[in-house]
């Protein structure tokens, strides 16, 4: 299976627009560390959401101008998220892409080897591998996002189209 591409609002980003650079970070809202009188911190959380950006530099514009940026869109990211640990069962923190199932890895000696992974209701279960010292489940997430219209840059001298967009999970 070839690696999937980024899809925003159903539009696939082609390599001719450049190899994308993706960032994934928590949204700076919904949670605070409150400082108490003795300096101790108390974490107060109402929600946790993600944000990120996608940028690229290629021969063509990204082709995302036709999307409705006033509405939430589905972002199928290729930024790999993963959870590592000793166990075989892990709660996925976001929804994996439906067109690319999560995959499991096991560390045997110094090598990571594939191990079958099944996901039911956001819980991934790996198959134990003899001699494995660590496991890891990885996936490419899907978010419902509010994306900004890409800011684009065209350098006609070198025929370079640069573009970037930011998104926030709705």
């Amino acid at each position: 299976m070839s690696l999937p591409r980024i899809m925003l609002g159903g539009v696939e980003l082609v390599l001719h627009s450049g190899a994308p650079v993706e960032t994934l970070e928590p949204l700076g809202a919904g949670s605070q560390l409150l400082r108490m009188s003795d300096g101790a911190g108390v974490i107060q959380t109402h929600f946790e959401k993600m944000a990120g950006s996608i940028s690229g530099q290629g021969w063509m514009p990204p082709g995302l101008s036709g999307l409705s940026y006033s509405l939430p869109m589905e972002l199928r990211s290729t930024k790999v998220e993963s959870i590592g640990g000793d166990g075989l069962v892990h709660n996925l923190t976001s929804t994996p892409r439906p067109d690319f199932p999560p995959w499991g890895l096991a560390l045997v000696g110094r090598e990571w080897v594939d191990t079958p992974c099944t996901v039911v209701g956001g819980v991934a279960t790996l198959v134990a591998v003899p001699g494995a010292t660590a496991y890891r489940v990885s996936w490419m997430p899907v978010f419902s996002v509010r994306a900004t219209r890409p800011s684009e840059n065209q350098d006609s001298g070198g025929n370079v189209h640069s573009w970037s967009l930011n998104w926030e999970e709705v």
């Binding site: 605070q32 009188s37 003795d38 108390v42 107060q44 109402h46 929600f47």
Partner: protein, 574 residues
Amino acid sequence: MLIGAQPLASGPLAVAVGSAYEPVYVVRGQAFNWRLRLLVDGVDLTSQLTGVIDTDREEGAAGVGGFVLYLPPGPVVPDDWKGKPVTLDFISRNRDGVITEKRLFTGKIEMPEWDATWRLLACDCSDQLQQKVEGMPIETIDSMTGGHWSADLFEPVTGRSRWDYAQERMQSRAASLDCSPTGDVRVTDWAAAAVPHFVFGPGTTLFDSVQIDLQPLGAATNRLEIEAGYRFPRLWQHIQGFGWTHPEYTNTGIPGFCNWRTYTSDLPTTEMITDAITGAGLTMVGAVGGYKLPPSMANPCGDGNAWTNTFDNLWLSATASGGRRWVQQVTESYKLLLTAIGGEDEATQVIARDSGSVAIESSQADEWESSKPSSSVPDVVDLSDEVRRTAALLTLLWGGAVQLLSAHRGTTLSWQVPTDLALGVDLVHTLRLEDKALAQGKCRRIQHRIDIEGGTAITTISVAISRGGGVGDPLTVPARPDTSLPPIEGGSILVTQLGGRLNDPITGLPIPPYDDGRLGFSGNWDVKDDLTAEDFPRRFDVEAVEIPEIYRDERTGEVTAHYRVAIPNDLLEL
């Protein structure tokens, strides 16, 4: 250290006031996840909340709250949102997964505001304290608020705002009337409990959030001078009796008549007597009594001479009473002095003044002077109303004491905590702070500020600190001043002067000249001894005794009383 070792909700957060309780030591914890539940008219609209939600509940005032809703596209009639019931719950989950859920606010949307651009409906809510009290029967307000009240100091309840009435009753209570987070109207004493309901220990307040607002001296009234007046009508009645007997009526009945018959003379008629009494400014009380000249008889005196008389209104001996009624105003003035500590020393006193008066008005007093005197009523009737006097004085005394108590609890200590730590704290509770200050007082105000975007829920808690001390006297109604007067003496025996002769037929002595100024009866002997003898006018005169001015003018009495008011001393060390 055992931070977070005890789940937040394991202590009795909802402390029942009045029952035995152990203080709840607020545990700081390390992390809390929170969410809200907003029900508008029973519909969960939590997911449409945006921005900042705040609530502010303060003792003695209606609680208010505000939030902003995003309304999805579709027709919106902001007016329809007005009056919709609102409840706001806070659900807190600590790191151990223990969930605590508390009501923050119950009320109604008072005023929606529509932002057409962003489709945001901003709702201002109120807990409807005023409307709830307005809807109560008077008896419920009475039993709920307690306190003292007087229709003379305020105005009769009928047709007036019951909210005003409740406020008036609360003026004599060292307590506050407000709504609980669930919207129940209740009254809470200001006095802080000896055992706190919640203890905020070291490290439980937010950094840099402990604040103290000290009360300025000028607001700390410690001497209250009340001047109260109590005015009522005193109904006076004075009945004066008059007695007259003909000098020859030396015996009673027929023997007396026979004596008079020897030398007959003029006698007064009933009309003469009653006219004399009314002419003296008096009103006849009862009828004229005594012994009348008997009617015709064959041989009344046993001497064989028949007696002929066709008049039935001639008196040999008469008694009659004339009465007067008048109203005297009595004014009792009460100078009541209430002092808190320092109020008796001129150097430290901060004075305030108050006044009140009770005036008893009665239609009986208005009609008294024109009504007919009667011997069956007492001479003095005070139209005093002890119930009204007591009510008014108690209202003033308690109102004054509350004024002093209130003036000494102006200091407010406040601090902020994550709302997760303040769940269950209500205005009825006594809170103790042991962080950056050592203080214990009754909760005065609770403000929640919940920022959805920032993920923070901060509660500002304020407690009232009362400082004073001293000892207190019982607030008993002072005794009435003595305004009584001795009874009016009066009554007169009337004399007789008979003329028409030079010499008295019985004694033979010369008859002195007619004296116009002499009261009583004046007339003539029937048989003249000389034609030149002066005929006296036939008349009957009486004179009413003079009522001294002290019985008519306003009568005043004064009472002074001093009460000391003890001010609770709440713990406050900074």
